[in-house]
Structures are given as structure tokens and as C-alpha cells.
Symmetry: C2
Subunit: 205 residues, 2 copies
Amino acid sequence: MNFSSKLLEKAVEEVAQLPGIGKRTALRLVLHLLNRPKSQTIQLTTALQNLVENTLFCKNCHNISDSEICEICANPKRNSELVCVVEDVRDVMAIENTAQFQGQYHVLGGKISPIEGIGPHNLTIDSLVEKVKNGGIKELIFATSSTIEGDTTNFYIFKQLEGLPVTITSIARGISVGDELEYADEITLGRSIINRIPFEHSLKR
Amino acid sequence: MNFSSKLLEKAVEEVAQLPGIGKRTALRLVLHLLNRPKSQTIQLTTALQNLVENTLFCKNCHNISDSEICEICANPKRNSELVCVVEDVRDVMAIENTAQFQGQYHVLGGKISPIEGIGPHNLTIDSLVEKVKNGGIKELIFATSSTIEGDTTNFYIFKQLEGLPVTITSIARGISVGDELEYADEITLGRSIINRIPFEHSLKR
């Protein structure tokens, strides 16, 4: 690209480094910034600066937080004996939106993925094992994504916790509520048959 | 969405105001910022701040520029008697990339679009008419987009310039180089027949 302005070029270069944003999209976004009131862009840059300068990670669950202990861990109404293990903050938000879970979380910060160079020690697994060893956790629920990496991560943690007095469960995989069987993939359908539940349970909402 | 951090929520809100970026994409981008070195994000925000604080628009052609007169207008090798009228800076970049144009530009800043509330006085048309009246421009080339709004804008400028000693041309519309006729749309194909050119001209590269 042939930029008429070095400032414009630099801004486009920086925006184009974001994931999923190419040079053309970056240029469109940057020109939009020039067309709207300057104060709005200053608000945007201030919010991003505040975020990277001041965001903390909860010392207990490693979730993104404004304080040393996040709101969920600090809430005395949440059951600290029941811990849901998730990959990142988006999973916490998704589960919180269901309003079905009253325990605490443990945010791994990703999943084991040799291809991306992410090993167990890049995640918060050691801290999870430590927490379990210190006692006080009765049940861990694995809620990582249903991929090879997610399964590997679960299995690694499972092995690390062998022999410790903690129940380990996994969220149910099966046909989505509202889905028609004929369009479900075979693996999901197969698993949902193997892991069938008593009919009375399926009446619970 | 159920944010665990106000800083995160504010950053996502601001990013989601950009065109074409929803809340989910904004969250993905913002979490990416948290996962990469802080200094990279400071570079990004500094570049955007510098852009909106310091960018100028060329006093002659209204293109984005780092100085009062842009590099193209300041270049004595460019023909100031030949002016190409375009919508925005992206069109200038596209034409500059062809390396086929040695004149100057006039950036309108958009096109007349009653639906979006953009009238002639929101664009730099008055300044263009002024420039033509002051003399020194022999030919104006309309290179706005081939839409109703683009055609309206061209026609409005054409009417404003009636009687002034300036040649007004429009870039050629026709079948793209490399395109097969059977896939071309009828209007483009029809226009390319009406505006046929002597064969010798088509040999020029």
C-alpha cells in the first residue's frame, strides 16, 4: 500500500497486527477513527491502556479481575468446594450466563497444545493441583472444549490428581437442546447414547 | 455478557463501537491484547492517538497528510493541470498503485447520499469549484464509484462547473481485464459496447 501519511501507515500497521484483521480492514477501521469525533478515539485508547496497565488476574481462580480476588471467589454465597475447570474468561462468562452453577472456577489460561507450543507449565495446572492438595475442594468439573487438546488437558490434570480425595466429573456432551437427531454428527450421537441418563433426570430443568 | 472486570467491559464496549465489530469479536480482540506483551498494546494506542491528534488534511486536495500540503501536491513533477476527483484516501492509494496517473487529486470525502444525510456541502465540492474558477486546471477526471450516489455526485459537480473552461472526463467503465464475457453483468457489458474504442487504442499498455 502507498500511504500518503506516515501517521496513517503506522496506525494501520498496528491495527493489522490484531488477529483476523488484515491490512484492508485495518485501513477501513483507521479511516473510521478519523471520521468520528476525536474524543471517542481517545476514550477507546484510554480504555485499552487502562486494561493492559491495570488488569489483574484473581489469585485464587486466575480469572481476569479488577482486584486481587475476583468477585466470584470473594462471594461467600458461592460453594468453594465445587470448582469448574475452564480454559479462559469467555468460558466463565458463558457458564455464568446459564445461572446454573453456584461453585467457583479455575481458569487454565488455555489448553495443552504441542503444535502451538503450549505445555502444562504454561497453564495454571500446578496451582490447581496445589489447591486440591491443600484440601477444601470436593469436586472438580472439567468444562474444557471438546477437542483433542481439551481432552488431553483433562487427562493430564486427571493423572496429576490421582490418589487425591477429590471427585472429578466432566460436563455432559450430547445432542443440543432443540436439535434434530438426523442432523447430529455420529460421534456426538454415539456419545449421547453411551452416556444416557435415567428419564426422570431429563425432566429436571 | 457477564463481565468479571469493569476494565474489560469498558474496553470491549469501546472496541465494539468500531464498524463491523460485534461484542464477541471485540472480546476476542481485547483478550488477545491481554495475552501479548503490554508494550505492543501501548504502541497500538499511541499510534491511534498520534493519528487523531496530529493528522492533517492537505489544503489543496483534502487528502490525509502529515503536512499542510501533501506529498503529491508538493511534488513538482506532478501535473497540476490534470486533477482526478475521488471519494476518499483509499481511492488515491488504489490509483497511485497503478502508477498510471501523473496528475493531482481532489478528495471529496464521500459521495452525495441523501439516505445517509450527506449533501454537497458535507463534501469538498465548493473547494473544487473554487479551484477550477481560479484557473490552472485543464481537465478533471471523475473517478468516483460506479453507483447511483457516485453518478449523482459527478452530475452535481458537472452542473456546478457548467460554462467554466475545463474538460471533464470520467474513467472508463467496462469488462475487467482478464474477465470472460459470459460472466459479465449486462449493464457493464452494454456500456462497454456503447463506449467502444478504436482498436489501436486498446493496444496501448
